[in-house]
Structure formats: structure tokens, C-alpha cells
């Protein structure tokens, strides 16, 4: 789907090439890297194949216009936010719903990533994680163990436990979040 000749160039470098030459070809290469992801995000929010396709085209247009106006540092995060905002605005226009403020959520996600790496730097964390794992809800404990420790796929876990794929995914996501909170709590208590 993407021209092989550009695969070795990073997003950042493609953006730099565009800003320095103002050649749209660089923008094309960059945007094409995200076509499938944008289509998926639009489909997730709009729940309609036709509308999702149209939304991707509109997001492309918006990106082309905006990127010419100002410099973007982290393209991937930026285009993701543009896509989500576009879909939420479209939903608001259609159903009169208020859009959610996305920039704050994005910052929270970034903080969580930083927190996780901080937690991992502490050797003591591993023992606490093993303890915390035992304290999770049985479903979460089962799914997290099968996924992370036994390296099973969602499908295999679903087959082994009888949970639906969506349940498996949800137990893993929630289990992971709860485990993180438990480890943080244990670290605080230790101090």
C-alpha cells in the first residue's frame, strides 16, 4: 500500500522535507501511511462505511490545509486528534451531542506511558506486580495471565475461557489498568 522507497524515512523527516521544499509529494507519502488507521477510527465513531470513507477524505483535506499553516511536531498524535475531533464534530452536528475535549485525554495517555516506564525502572515493582496480579478480579487475572504470561491471542483466550473476544479485550485492558494502580498503591505504602 505504501511505496517501499519511502519506508526508511521517518514521519518527522517527511514533514521536514515538506516544510523545506513545500512539495506536496512528501505530504502524500506521510498521509498515506495513516489511511487505514484513519479509516478505522472514522468507522469506529461513525459506524457507517460510506461516511467513514468521506470523513477520511475530509481529514486529508484538513491536514493538507493545516500543515501548510503551522508546524506540527508529532504528526501521528496530531492526525489522530484531528480525526477524532472531526468525527465527534460530525456526530454533534448530526445528533446535537457535545464533543468531548480530546486534548486533555491525549495528555493523560502520555502521562500514563511515562508513569509506566518509571514504574518499570524499580526492581521491587516486579514482586509487587506478581502480588498485585493475585489481587485482581478472577476474570481479569485469568485473561491477563493468559495474555501476557502465556502469550495467548484473544481468540485462544476466548476459546479457553468461554468469554467473548470483546470481554477478553476488556478484562485485559481493565486488568492492566488495575494492576498498575495496585502497584502504585503498594509503592506508596512502602514509603
Amino acid at each position: 500500500m505504501i511505496a517501499d522507497k519511502h519506508k526508511h524515512i521517518t514521519d518527522q523527516q517527511l514533514l521536514e522535507n515538506f516544510y523545506s521544499s513545500q512539495d506536496n509529494e512528501w505530504l502524500g507519502v506521510l498521509l498515506q501511511r495513516y489511511t487505514l488507521l484513519l479509516l478505522g477510527v472514522c468507522m469506529k465513531y461513525l459506524k457507517n462505511e460510506e461516511e467513514a470513507r468521506d470523513a477520511v477524505q475530509q481529514i486529508f483535506l484538513k491536514a493538507i490545509t493545516e500543515l501548510k499553516k503551522y508546524r506540527v511536531e508529532y504528526f501521528k498524535s496530531w492526525i489522530y486528534m484531528v480525526a477524532k475531533n472531526h468525527c465527534l464534530m460530525k456526530l454533534r452536528d448530526e445528533h446535537g451531542k457535545n464533543p468531548v475535549e480530546l486534548s486533555e485525554r491525549y495528555l493523560e495517555a502520555k502521562d500514563e506511558a511515562e508513569d509506566n516506564s518509571n514504574l518499570l525502572q524499580k526492581d521491587v515493582t516486579l514482586d509487587m506486580m506478581a502480588e498485585g496480579l493475585k489481587e485482581l478480579h478472577p476474570e481479569q487475572q485469568q485473561c491477563v495471565t493468559l495474555f501476557y504470561l502465556e502469550k495467548k491471542s484473544y481468540q485462544e483466550i476466548s476459546g479457553a475461557t468461554g468469554f467473548t473476544m470483546m470481554q477478553v479485550k476488556s478484562y485485559i485492558q481493565n486488568g492492566k489498568r488495575n494492576l498498575r494502580l495496585l502497584v502504585e498503591k503498594k509503592l506508596k505504602n512502602k514509603k
Binding site: M1, E25, T35, Y80, N116, L149, K151, K176
Partner: protein
Amino acid sequence: MSENLKDILSNLSTEIDQETLLLYLQDKLTSEKKHEVEKKLLENEFANDAAEGLQDFRNKEHLATLVDHLNRDLKKKLHNKRTQRTKIHLKEYPWLYFAVILIIVLIVISYFIIRRLLNNN
């Protein structure tokens, strides 16, 4: 075991290329590869949202064609923008039109003068 435990809180290498994601959605990966993709999806909000949405497409075999159409459309748009930009540039420099017309007029006048001189001789 401890290395596997680390995976739960790790945030490393979460990039998934489009081809791999497509194969995952079309259920064409081994269990091991599937697990790798799912692990990355849990760390990558953008790709995770996208995978959830893409699962809802009726025909997942058709996704690659759909993406190709969108990419082709994008290329056309970018090409049109480039053409428009060139036109705008020309509009920004009216003296350029004037200079071209002047040169053409001079060439025509020179042609007639030379022709007349040759006829006189």
C-alpha cells in the same frame, strides 16, 4: 516470568504497519503473530481504535482496495493543489504576462520589418 511481567507495563515498540494490521483483521496471522499485534494494540490507542472500527467492515478482504482508492484520490487532490498553486503564482506576477506578450509582439514586428527589407532588396 519476570520478563513477561514487565510486558504488562511496558510501552516499547507499539508501531504496527498497515499490512500486518490488515492480515490480522483478515485472520491470516499465526497465533504467535496475533498475540504480538494484540500486545501492540493495547499500547497504541490510535491503532487500537482503528482496529475496533475496521472490525466492523463487512468485507475485510476489500479493505486494501478501499485504502488504495483513498490514496489515489489523495494523490489527485495534492496534484490539483500543486497546479492551483502554480496558477496563483502566475497571477501574483502580472509583469510576467506583460513581458511574454511584449516579446511576442517584438518578434512579430521584427519578422515583418525583415520581410519588408528583403522584399525591397
